[in-house]
């Protein structure tokens, strides 16, 4: 291996149990012609507080990989451990920001967030619940739109509500499946910055799927690049160690930015080019 930037396990990581550990994890769907392997032999550790981005061609199993963390998919071989215990089912400690927002359209922005808190933390007083909802709506700049119904909100505002809902219940792991894919460029940059700020203050662990290399380089500590399916695996992991807090201008002036970017592009379009792209 010549890729100097590639590391699968951080050599200086502490010996303590990582927050998340994929151990020889594989997942195959049963089909009439026998099992169809989606993921194979995934070995990877995530430390608490890390921001991880996952990139790879469509259909390579990125979503399935994150679904094994959220608990919506079960590995058929190996396991995924959260603080040493295998993940059994979905739970609010691993909150998901769904690809299509998954907000309830008959409720207001406020009620969507409130429903999450009422479900996860019913023991809080009404006042405390209210304060948490308003705090998180304020965090994503939606204080004024709190009482609007979801259908009255733009795509960017919906994604903000979805993020506020996810963060309000204080998950240990925040899972985002291409959260900004459907947004315009300006809204996307705004939300990326808001997400970084919130991550900075809340110190949760983030797993995020993206199609956008620049987005990953701006946000992530490490970028997981997946090989093509079937039987996809982790091809390479880039460590992105720009100092934080990051500014877009600063990192784009850093020569390392282009080194990383070219490495990722080379991985996606030369070494693991998609069939459609190659033809």
């Amino acid at each position: 291996m010549t890729a100097t930037l590639s590391i699968h396990d951080r050599p200086n990581a502490s010996q303590a149990e990582p927050l998340l550990r994929f151990e020889g994890m594989g997942l195959a769907y049963p089909t009439p012609k026998g099992p169809y392997p989606v993921l194979e032999n995934i070995n990877f550790n995530v430390e608490a507080g890390e921001f991880i981005c996952v990139i790879g061609h469509s259909g390579c199993g990125k979503s399935t990989l994150l679904n094994t963390v959220s608990g919506f998919a079960k590995p058929t071989s190996g396991q995924v451990l959260l603080k040493g215990a295998p993940i059994q089912r979905p739970g609010p400690d691993r909150m998901v920001v769904f690809q299509g927002y998954a907000l309830l359209p008959w409720l207001s922005a406020y009620d969507n967030v409130a429903l999450a808190i009422e479900s996860v933390k019913p023991e809080l007083s009404e006042r405390e619940k209210r304060d948490i909802v308003m705090e998180h709506l304020a965090m994503v700049g939606l204080t004024a739109a709190a009482e609007k119904t979801i259908s009255q909100l733009s795509g960017g505002m919906k994604q903000r509500v979805a993020i506020a809902r996810a963060l309000a219940i204080r998950p240990e792991v925040l899972i985002l499946d291409e959260p900004f894919g459907a947004l315009d460029a300006i809204t996307k940059e705004e939300l990326q910055e808001e997400l970084l700020q919130i991550w900075n203050t809340q110190k949760c662990t983030v797993l995020m799927i993206t199609h956008d290399i620049d987005e990953a380089l701006f946000l992530a500590d490490r970028l997981v690049m997946m090989t093509n399916g079937p039987a996809a695996g982790i091809g390479e992991v880039l460590t992105i160690d720009f100092p934080r807090p990051r500014s877009r201008e600063d990192i784009m002036e850093d020569p390392k930015y282009y080194e990383l970017r070219n490495n990722a592009l080379d991985f996606l379009y030369n070494r693991f080019a998609h069939d459609d792209d190659a033809s």
């Binding site: 608990g71 919506f72 089912r89 979905p90 609010p92 909150m95 769904f98 998954a102 309830l104 996860v120």
Partner: protein, 273 residues
């Protein structure tokens, strides 16, 4: 107070604007009544024409005085209708409660759906009139039998639409409930019911029409009690054709009002989202 200003009501302008929406139905209905009256007057049919509602003295009295009550069965058509409506209300309410309940159960449970769907599909094809003898044998009493006929006629659209509404709850919403580990009760009230509500209302609207259609069948089994269905049946026994025509007009008008009422409720409740 000024009299007619430029913003005031202007008959000529109003007529110009709404002529296109008012004239065609007037012409259509007028033409139909004319055709009916002509074919009756010329003897093409034994059915009395629309004018007979006025020319037959017995029918004219029923037409002009819907509220009279001389005791027993000798009542105005409004009072007959109210008796029928209360019967429909009971059968329909029962159908709504059972239909929504069973619909949710069937919608949530694949096995239950496979077990009962063929039965539901079969039973919903049975005509109201066919239920009458069965209802009489089952209940041995007129009133429960009549309510059962209304119930069994109107339950199917509610049940089938509710089940479909529950099946159509987007996977995303179910996933939200899963990841938040929502209690069953919260899932019901916050996700299932609001999500399925438009489907439930579609079922309720179709069913109110069916419940009303079943009224004649239901009241055939109830001789000696007031009701619009029985009124028509009774007029038929006596050969009062113009009375039957008047009764049918009442039934059509009430059915139309019930349907409009449900449509209005539907837009009020199911679009507030």
């Amino acid at each position: 107070m000024s009299t007619v200003t430029s913003s005031g009501f202007n008959v000529a302008q109003w007529w110009k604007r709404s002529r296109k929406t008012i004239l065609p139905p007037l012409l259509g209905i007028g033409g139909f009544l004319l055709f009916w009256q002509l074919s009756a007057s010329l003897g093409f049919t034994k059915l009395s024409g629309p004018l007979s509602l006025w020319t037959e003295e017995r029918t004219r009295e029923l037409l002009l005085y819907p509220f009279f009550d001389r005791g027993g069965l000798d009542k105005g058509l409004f009072l007959h209708t109210m008796s029928s409506l209360s019967r429909v209300a009971m059968g329909y309410t029962l159908a709504a409660v059972v239909g929504i309940g069973v619909g949710i159960a069937v919608g949530l449970n694949q096995a239950l759906n496979r077990a009962f769907d063929p039965l539901f599909q079969f039973l919903r094809m049975v005509a109201p009139l066919a239920w009458v003898p069965i209802a009489l044998v089952m209940f041995q009493q007129n009133q429960p039998a009549a309510i059962f006929v209304i119930f069994i006629t109107s339950i199917w659209p509610i049940l089938i639409n509710t089940a479909e509404g529950v099946r159509q709850i987007p996977q995303d919403y179910r996933n939200v409930a899963l990841v938040l580990q929502m209690s069953r009760k919260r899932f019901f009230t916050k996700i299932l019911i609001p999500s399925a509500l438009p489907y439930i209302f579609t079922g309720l609207r179709i069913s109110i029409g069916l419940a009303w259609l079943a009224i004649i069948a239901a009241e055939i089994v109830m001789p000696g009690t007031p009701g619009i269905g029985f009124f028509i049946w009774d007029a038929n026994q006596n050969g009062y054709v113009s009375d039957i025509v008047l009764g049918v007009i009442w039934i059509g008008a009430i059915g139309l009002i019930l349907d409009r009422l449900m449509a209005w409720l539907q837009t009020r409740i199911a679009t507030g989202r």
